[in-house]
């Protein structure tokens, strides 16, 4: 079983829709959570970073973390065709000796104009 599970999609939505992207994880040692966006032929780009349970908002993006359920989400409001990309959740241990990011498999999102 993978440490981080993410629905690979693809997810296709009309422009203006609210998008919900989700990841679950199995190891409670993960304490820091990130969402990256990756366009085709590009490297991942950091969208959101959070370390506590609850919601964090940045423009049209909201990251939600529920540590008790080991579940994180990214919500995109008023989705745009330019949001079409692969979205990757990533997590990191608090332990200073284990600094690598563990990624979900990525969800491909297509926003139809």
């Amino acid at each position: 079983q993978k440490e981080v599970e993410q629905d690979p999609g693809p997810l296709s939505v009309p422009e203006g829709a609210i998008v919900s992207l989700n990841c679950t994880y199995s190891n409670s040692a993960f304490q820091y959570f990130m969402w990256y966006r990756q366009y085709s032929r590009k490297g991942p780009e950091l969208l959101m970073y959070t370390y506590s349970s609850g919601n964090k908002e940045d423009g049209r993006f909201t990251a939600q973390v529920d540590k008790s359920s080991k579940y994180i989400s990214l919500f995109i409001r008023d989705s745009q065709p330019s949001d079409s990309a692969t979205y990757l959740c990533a997590m990191r241990y608090r332990d200073t000796g284990r600094r690598a990011l563990t990624f979900g498999s990525g969800t491909r999102l297509q926003v139809q104009p």
């Binding site: 990130m34 490297g43 991942p44 332990d95 000796g97 600094r99 690598a100 990011l101 563990t102």
Partner: protein, 123 residues
């Protein structure tokens, strides 16, 4: 400020050959991590370097190695290439080591910024 630069962008090699990939981190960043991305396995951590020392290593065979120079630039090497090594190799840089700090200070010090990657095809 220039981003993370990876060279070359594309490489084609044959089985049994070796390859060296290069990564120049963001100016002032001292930590460089390498990841392998494939459609089947997704993004997997290879290793991390800080101050010319390997600090962490993922579960890859010894054919995968790396090093970091005094100017923080890093190279990774794959020897005796196999077909399964075909992948996008990503380099990420951050300003410092993971200090386990709380709060938004982490964001400035430890967020990893990725390059565009080197796409390696092994024939």
């Amino acid at each position: 400020k220039a981003g993370v630069t990876q060279t070359p962008r594309y490489l084609i090699k044959t089985r049994g050959q070796q390859v060296t990939l290069s990564c120049s981190p963001i100016s002032g960043h001292r930590s460089v991590s390498w990841y392998q991305q494939t459609p089947g396995q997704g993004l997997q951590f290879l290793f991390e370097y800080f101050s010319e020392t390997q600090r962490n290593k993922g579960n890859f065979p010894g054919r995968f190695s790396g090093r970091q120079f005094s100017n923080s630039r890093s190279e990774m090497n794959v020897s005796t290439l196999e077909l399964g090594d075909s992948a996008l190799y990503l380099c990420a840089s951050s300003s410092g080591p993971w200090l386990g700090l709380a709060g938004e200070e982490i964001r400035a010090k430890n967020i990893q910024y990725f390059g565009a990657g080197t796409r390696l095809s092994v024939l």
